[in-house]
């Protein structure tokens, strides 16, 4: 509530010309499922969509392990842009299919399964949506900025599907630009492209480093908007529990 009031005052005082929002866990909210569990469930969804007679035969475990491996390989060996190491979903799926020994033409099936799963996992954050609507009607530019392997076209699709679509003035994903919030250069890129002075830009998001420290270091205004404590506790507990189950199956170390 305090955050909301601060932003409303800034809008009323015209202290800002642009509001940038993080997407995942800010504009749209995830369930408490941790990332590894999402990959595991996504692997099950992909398994269901694969043709019965696919060769070589792959299991949910294979798809899950290939996904974890592909994500690590894609990020650690990415093309570096202004010091940022970002990956795209295309690369991740290409590496995942290669690890599974499956043809690249199945990338579309993997992507469709991923989008369907994401839609199921997300819900709109009405506080942020109404705030952005208010800012837009006050003549302030609104954009989103996400450190995500999904490109803005797919993020738009997700937002539309969950009812969080807004008339954004800019859509920025690290997958498109190769620049990230966590390293910082994405904020410079946004301010330059939107032709707004950094001091007149406000960014909100749930990550202390990527959504608060980095923009402030680059002259932006920023508000840290973390998920509520109960969500974080449940999320951590589920993450620990799922990791334990992976240890038990020798699928993690």
């Amino acid at each position: 509530m305090k955050n909301l009031q601060i932003i409303k005052t800034a809008i009323a005082d015209r202290a800002i010309d642009l509001i940038s929002t993080d997407v995942f866990d800010t504009l749209v909210l995830r369930t408490t499922r941790p990332e590894l569990l999402r990959f595991w469930q996504l692997a099950d969804a992909v398994c269901d969509r694969l043709p019965q007679n696919i060769s070589p035969a792959v299991s949910q475990t294979d798809i899950f392990c290939a996904r974890v491996l592909a994500a690590r390989a894609a990020y650690r060996n990415s093309k570096r842009v202004q010091g940022c190491d970002e990956a795209t979903v295309e690369t991740i799926h290409r590496l995942q299919l290669s690890a599974l020994g499956l043809p690249e033409k199945l990338a579309g099936l993997f992507l469709d399964a991923e989008i369907a799963y994401e839609i199921d996992d997300l819900k709109p954050n009405y506080s942020v949506i109404s705030l952005l609507k208010e800012a837009r009607s006050a003549g302030i530019k609104i954009i989103y900025a996400s450190d995500m392997y999904l490109p803005a076209t797919i993020i738009d699709r997700l937002l539309r599907s969950v009812g969080a679509d807004l008339p954004f003035d800019g859509r920025y994903s690290s997958a498109d630009t190769g620049l990230s919030k966590r390293a910082g250069p994405l904020f410079d890129h946004i301010a330059r492209e939107q032709a707004v002075a950094p001091s007149k830009c406000l960014h909100i998001g749930d990550s202390k480093a990527g959504d608060y420290d980095r923009p402030r270091a680059r002259g932006w205004q920023a508000l840290h908007w973390p998920r509520e404590l109960t969500w974080r506790l449940v999320h951590s507990a589920r993450s620990a529990a799922f990791k334990t189950s992976l240890y038990a199956q020798h699928l993690a170390h």
Partner: protein
């Protein structure tokens, strides 16, 4: 039944190959080549080929053998990047005379004195002074016949290495070169990055580690595929850092290290000492570590699916961690390795373990443990009956070793000071008593 530790290495090397394939796949959308760095990398290449063959996969990017070493790149980069390379060279030759260092760089450690003006100067004793960055600079950039000869030699090494790399980049002159090796701190890669900045250098290693030192800037361009940045019990694969020599030893082969480059009569460039025959790369009958690893990776019965490979390697990692933290004497014998050679072309070797002499004192046993490349293993050899509690104690103490050493040093200094104060007080007291009497 407990699997012998030697048979736990196979699944971990197989996982390395599987992950290496995925990591190399990330470069398939770029003009890239993988370079397996001699010598250890050649055996990793052999394993990678066996792994691809077993899983019926095609290589992710074109690859080559890269005959290179830290000393070969240091020689090639010395003139162009003196301020970075010279301290690295000097650090490798502590307490040596400049003449010995130059001789080692030009002809090889312990080899004959080189000919020409440099040889004459060595015979005269012109280089009989401590080897430091300053004395090396003085000798290298001197306006003398010896200086000319030294500069010509290092400039030629630089040209030859550039030619080797041009050839390795292939017809398309790949702009990404991905070096593959066992590990650890990527010193060779760092020098290559500085010497050839027009190329994007990346490194994929079995492990990445700065020997307990700080994170290095070029670590960003290195991936330790199996383990990175020191041992943590939460990640059992990092237990390799307790005894990383077992990885190096597995990939070591009876072949000369690359010491530099030379031009053949036909005009081609080759490593000094020649290329390594494929029969030497393959495991021989004496390869007690690499033999079982290669057999596992190439066996048709080894899992082929990525899930099963992960499961086998994670299972093996947990058991290997137990064997490396709490080894029995039998484990130590199984994982014993030949004496390790010193790096940088030096003809020095260091035993991994010392065979305990009968009737040794506890102090000798403790010294053997502290000098061992695998202290947990040496504890098992020195004190087999007490090994488990001592190994547990060692595991608890190891993370705090630096602080304990500092505390002991401080305590020792404090005790020394108290002793001196007491002595001074006693002396003063004695002086007063003498005055009174």
């Amino acid at each position: 039944m407990r699997t012998s530790p030697i048979h736990l290495l196979g699944p971990l090397f197989d996982r390395f190959c599987s992950d290496l394939h995925a990591h190399l796949g990330a470069y398939a959308d770029r003009s890239a080549r993988a370079l397996f760095m001699a010598r250890g990398g050649l055996r990793l290449r052999l394993l990678y080929e066996a792994h691809l063959n077993r899983r019926d996969l095609a290589p992710a990017v074109p690859y080559e053998d890269f005959y290179v070493s830290r000393v070969a790149v240091a020689k090639a980069a010395l003139l162009d990047d003196f301020d970075y390379v010279a301290p690295l060279i000097i650090k490798e030759f502590p307490y040596q005379q400049l003449g010995s260092v130059l001789q080692a760089l030009i002809s090889g450690w312990g080899a004959e004195t080189p000919g020409g003006a440099v040889g004459a100067a060595m015979t005269r004793g012109d280089f009989d002074r401590p080897a430091t960055v300053a004395t090396l600079k003085e000798a290298l950039f001197a306006d003398t016949a010896e200086g000319d000869q030294l500069r010509d030699f290092f400039a030629e090494q630089s040209r030859l290495l550039a030619e080797v790399i041009r050839e390795l980049r292939g017809a398309e002159q790949a702009d990404h070169l991905v070096v593959v090796d066992t590990g650890w701190s990527g010193g060779t890669q760092a020098m290559l990055q500085r010497r050839f900045p027009e190329i994007t250098w990346r490194g994929l290693y079995f492990g990445r580690y700065n020997y307990g030192g700080p994170w290095l800037p070029h670590f960003r361009d290195m991936v330790g595929i199996v383990c990175e940045d020191g041992f943590t019990p939460r990640n059992p694969a990092t237990s390799f850092f307790l005894y990383r020599h077992v990885v190096e030893s597995a990939c070591e082969m009876p072949a000369q290290s690359v010491f530099g480059y030379e031009r053949t009569a036909a005009g081609a460039v080759q490593p000094t000492g020649g290329m390594i025959c494929e029969d030497v790369v393959r495991p021989g009958p004496d390869d007690t570590i690499f033999g079982p690893v290669f057999a596992y990776v190439s066996a048709a019965t080894t899992p082929v699916s990525v899930g099963d490979i992960a499961r086998s390697s994670n299972h093996a990692a947990w058991r290997l961690m137990r064997a490396l933290m709490f080894p029995s004497p039998a484990d130590v014998n199984q994982l014993s390795i030949p004496p390790r050679s010193a790096d940088f072309g030096k003809d020095i070797s260091y035993p991994a373990h010392r065979t305990p002499a009968s009737g040794r004192s506890p102090a000798t046993a403790m010294r053997n443990v502290s000098l061992s490349l695998w202290p947990e293993g040496q504890i098992a050899l020195e004190m087999p009956w007490l090994r488990l509690p001592l190994q547990v104690l060692f595991v608890l103490v190891r993370p705090h070793a630096r602080r304990i050493r500092q505390a002991l040093s401080t305590a020792s200094r404090a005790a020394d000071r108290i002793r001196r104060l007491r002595l001074a007080a006693a002396n003063r007291l004695g002086y007063r008593r003498r005055q009174v009497t």
